[in-house]
Amino acid sequence: MILALIENAFLSILGSAIPASTVVVLAATGVMLNERVGVLNLGQEGLIGIGAVFAVISVQEWGIESSWLALLAGMLGAAFMGAAFALGTVVIRANQVLLGLALALGGVGLANQLGTNRTGTPIPTETQFQELDPFGVFTDNEFFEAFLYHDAVTYLAYLVVPAALWFLLFRTRHGMTVRAVGESPGAADAVGASVMGIRFFYTVLGAAISGAAGAYMVLTITPTWSPDIARGRGWVALAVVIFAAWRPFRVVAGALLFGAMISFETTAKARNWDLPFLSASDMGFLLSMLPYLVTLIVILVPAGAAHLGRRVRATDAPAALAIPYFREER
């Protein structure tokens, strides 16, 4: 009986953790791409907000019915913001931290303003992403159901995009140049790579993927617009990338941990779990902090372990992260 209850809760957490993490997986993938070319984009909250609000506008204002086109609208909105950010950080080469925070603040403000009268109007079911059953044979097994019943965007975010990026970054010549631009732009420049061009392109691409995170959020997770839609997921994505040491599949794992905390919270609240010394409602407040605390611990532990073990380790971060490239200072 108790075992069945645990299994039931476990499956419920697992089944909801995977889609709940998709937003962070996508945003963190965008962050990783930005940072691989040496651009620190702290504006993830803004990009998620812009992606979300443009997806909503495309559905409610422009009459788009296809979920894919709505996703594209969100990505384009975020890509436009990303291009403005790249203009400032890559072309003008202004301070990346300041511009990133400007994007976080301004993007959230702009998205909230654009969404002012859209709060509460749900996205129609036919425009939401629907769960697929790619392996129809397992339908009667609830374990496989929890694992495999997800929509196409989740499959893309968890498998296709990381695999493609891993191949691109670590198995192609272009990928080597891309990483070189983030590690040592001077050397990349010397062998003929266009540092500015590559940084600009991947900054915009990363922003578009972060925008897809926001669009997916309003199209499927909470199928309606609400102000401050990202609720910290952008900052979590930035933390996840540090934890993941800038590697595509570790990004997925890190984001999944955050999603698991979110769905643990939801499940525990829904089932009124309590502890001997904590009432269920107090437990709920504590659980709301958990995803952020776990994210914090997750980036502290590897750094602390490396330090306490006196292991001399080169930092995993791209060496030129957040440093503008001036050819004349090479």
């Binding site: 403000g109 902090m289 952020y292």
Partner: protein
């Protein structure tokens, strides 16, 4: 590009030029915001006139800005202090909330004479704010963990703590308001002649002057600026960099936390915690102020009063086409202007010798072909 000129990068960044261009950039950001308002069908000139009317048109407006400026300036001073060391404390919202949280807890649970209670709450707020940044500070100083993300993540935790207190363990069950703690029994005295401004208004002003003096004429201030300029050089000069980083970050958090105490006891109608809304993103406004002022403490006061006026106008004009959301979008544009202004300060327009002037600007150094036999 203007014909006959080209951009030349400077090796030095002159402080005065940087400050001027930073302000020009901020003005440029505001002009861009005007165009943005125009695009959305609002008249920026009407909004500007209404804002000025809302702020300066009545005693209520001026007092409103003064009340608003206390939390914003306290957060800004905390951020500016850590910025002197090139440490980005983005978590002053959380430190502000936790300062208020500790002060509130002491205020509603301890029975003491008013003056003693105020002192205890003030000290508690300092400790609360400092403790809230302790982990990011230690991780940054000893393990090199980026403080931007760690300080920011704790904001979300702080909001949950305050929500928990407001709905849970300190909730005022006699009140009709669902999300509120019990009211603290003590307030700071009002300034004579004002309806809503308490003596809390003077605290950030005095603190800014104190910090200015510390950085202008003490060894500690000089050492902190040295760390900000070049941490490796500072370490070679014998400065204990990790310890300085921790201490400065703790003080930075304590200042924001004390802002929470001043808000709780000084601002009209804020004598209880009411969820995360107790801080109306004062930490973010404070960050903008510190960036705009370029971490100059006296500049923080000027920039802080300006941003407070803007924030007050944003709230006052909600029915006339402005909103807090738009204010944040404008903050973003101002920050973009600041960043670009700072970059522009590192360039100069240099006259390029044209065909006519080529003869007069003959090269003084021999060319490679001439130098090699």
């Amino acid at each position: 590009m203007i014909a006959g000129y080209r951009l030349q990068r400077r090796l030095d960044a002159d402080a005065r030029r940087t400050a001027i261009l930073r302000v020009l950039g901020a003005v440029g950001g505001l002009v861009a915001a005007g165009f943005f308002l125009l695009l959305t069908g609002r008249n920026p000139f009407t909004i500007l006139a209404d804002s000025i009317e809302a702020v300066f048109g009545s005693k209520r407006g001026i007092e409103g800005v003064a009340v608003q400026s206390v939390p914003i300036l306290m957060c800004a001073l905390g951020v500016a202090l850590s910025l002197r060391m090139k440490v980005w404390n983005i978590g002053s919202d959380g430190q502000f909330l936790m300062g208020a949280f500790v002060a509130c807890g002491l205020g509603i649970n301890i029975d003491a004479p008013n003056w003693l209670l105020l002192v205890m709450m003030g000290v508690g707020a300092l400790i609360g704010g400092a403790l809230w940044i302790l982990v990011p500070a230690a991780a940054r100083a000893h393990w090199g963990v980026n403080e931007i993300i760690t300080t920011l993540l704790l904001n979300f935790v702080a909001v949950q703590m305050v929500v928990w207190a407001s709905l849970g363990f300190w909730r005022d069950s006699s009140s009709m308001v669902t999300q509120s703690t019990r009211i603290v029994p003590v307030t700071l005295p009002r300034i004579p002649g004002f309806d809503s401004v308490s003596i809390a208004f003077f605290v950030p002003l005095i603190l800014a002057v104190v910090l200015w003096i510390v950085f202008r004429s003490t060894k500690v201030g000089y050492e902190i600026d040295t760390i900000g300029g070049n941490p490796r050089a500072a370490a070679f000069a014998g400065i204990n960099v990790p310890r300085r980083i921790i201490v400065v970050m703790l003080i930075s958090g304590a200042i924001a936390g004390f802002g929470g105490f001043l808000q709780l006891t000084g601002a009209p109608g804020a004598q209880a915690l009411n969820g995360g809304g107790f801080s109306r993103s004062y930490g973010l406004s404070g960050f903008i102020v510190a960036a705009l002022a370029g971490a100059s403490f006296l500049g923080v006061i000027v920039a802080g009063l300006f941003i407070s006026a803007m924030f007050y106008a944003g709230i006052a004009l909600q029915t006339k086409g402005l909103s807090v959301y738009i204010i944040f979008a404008i903050y973003g544009l101002v920050l973009v202007g600041v960043a670009i202004g700072e970059t522009a300060a590192r360039y100069r327009l240099q006259k390029v010798a044209t065909d006519g002037g080529a003869a007069s600007a003959a090269p003084t150094t021999p060319t490679l072909a001439e130098a090699t036999p």
